[in-house]
Symmetry: C2
Subunit: 296 residues, 2 copies
């Protein structure tokens, strides 16, 4: 399958798997379940799911259904984080993926609870059916997800992000924020993919982790570039939001040209990390290009 067809294929698989995993909107409490489905279905590039599938199918002999569930768990954490990030007390965003954000479409209380319940569901998915050939592997996948989402990962990055608005910060602080806020979950997608099925246990795992760290940061640098260089219609969310919120970004810190150069460096490093893994890593190689391709 060529790359664009594969992307579409995995995106559709993920949508179908999420449709099944999410509680039906006809089940009580209906409004909550509706809001959870509204937030988690029908949108997004599903980068995290693509990373889980690309890693798992190339390196672990995992069944596609196991990868679907691992991918859904990561996507559910991502969906929860977007709902909470968009709330008025956080980024106060009205638009996401070209649709009204959850608290605009429903209400704040429902958005809060939908985010909470999506986070819980992510862990439930990983506990309900094994994504790994062993119970120990299943537990490790749960731990990887928790570490990526928690106060040393995504939630911690968000806290630094909120605190940094309106302040000048160093490049080191910016990197540490981005590594947590976006990088941790993108990295977890690769590591959980590598933990699926029989798992990747030799030094190929270190290679994959190095790749994962580079694209985790790359993803956020590209996001900073797109926020500064695109319009709202193209983004499907409010453009120029970081600048108007006084949020430090790679563009505000380095300027557009150097931010692009930094993204190019990260892309090269990601490709280099994969090189010794040979042909098997071709999907991951293409995914690194895919993540960066709108930024140059």
């Amino acid at each position: 399958m060529n790359f664009p067809d594969w992307v579409t294929y995995i995106q559709q698989r993920t949508e179908t798997a999420l449709q099944t995993i999410l509680p039906a909107a006809s089940l009580a409490p209906c409004r909550l379940h509706e809001a959870m489905r509204y937030a988690a279905l029908g949108g997004g590039k599903r980068i995290r799911s693509l990373l889980v599938h690309a890693t798992g199918s190339s390196f672990t002999h995992a069944k596609p259904e196991q990868l679907d569930r691992a991918a859904c768990a990561v996507e559910l954490i991502h969906a929860y984080s977007l709902i909470h990030d968009d709330l008025p007390c956080m980024d106060d965003d009205k638009l996401r993926r070209g649709k009204p954000t959850v608290h605009v479409e429903y209400d704040e209380a429902t958005a809060l609870l939908a985010g909470d319940a999506l986070q819980t569901l992510a862990f439930q998915v990983l506990a309900e059916t094994s994504v790994s050939a062993t119970a120990a592997g299943q537990i490790e996948a749960i731990l990887l997800l928790a570490q990526a989402a928690g106060s040393h990962g995504m939630a911690g990055g968000q806290a630094i992000d909120i605190a940094s608005a309106g302040h000048e910060i160093t490049r080191e602080v910016l990197e540490s924020m981005h590594v947590r806020k976006t990088g941790a979950l993108v990295r977890a997608a690769v590591l959980i993919g590598a933990r699926a099925g029989e798992g990747v246990l030799d030094n190929r795992r270190q290679r994959l982790d190095h790749y994962a760290k580079r694209i985790g940061l790359l993803y956020q640098v590209v996001d900073d570039i797109l926020d500064a260089a695109s319009d709202t219609a193209t983004l499907g969310k409010t453009a120029g939001k970081d600048a108007s919120n006084g949020k430090p970004t790679y563009v505000s810190l380095l300027g557009l040209t150097d931010a692009r150069r930094f993204a190019e460096d990260l892309l090269s490093e990601a490709h280099e990390a994969l090189a010794p893994l040979g042909e098997r890593a071709s999907r991951l190689h293409e995914l690194a290009d895919f993540i960066s391709h709108r930024a140059f």
Copy 2:
């Protein structure tokens, strides 16, 4: 050890275990970690922890340290739910356990993220070190916690609670709300205790589950009674809040006398469920009394 001494002993063990499990406030992001500690430490009756320990130590041969971790996981979910319930878009409460609520002491964004990160930490705790003698038991404990916390459990009950404000609801709807909102996690405390160590696998488990369901509901009926019949200083949180918010409760639906009678019935049923388990169940018997004792 007599019952009051045992309660104090377990409460202190739980506090110590939580102190260790929660990230230090000196670790970045400091404000987030401070808020997490503020919310989870130094307060509460630790009913859920007492239930984990009483069940686990009497029926499963679990090590006390395993029960500490299981208890902390349940208490962390409880702590997260209180932070989010108190937010302005939910119950908008200013006082909790005699202290300003987290969003009052810190700010709304920090409170939101602290709740999010405490939920994640609960799952991380159960994934990091086994509370069970087997990996399968560990996974089952994680699943029990997720089912209790999610949209069919605690978060779902909260959604029904919010939606019911200002509306007349039937006793059936009220019960279904309470069973989810408070009952699910109280029940999970018993079931996770029963899943610790070597686990309780015979028909004693059904007995414990029946007990757990009764006290889960009892806990909320008692809460309704106390909210109506106490003052703010005694409660450590704003009294009469349910009535002023137009929230249906057992007191608003049945009146104080019949609500008390219902609580007495639930207490008897909880005791009856334990009777065939003999002496081993004595702590759980005492805990049922402890849960209800301020209501009569």
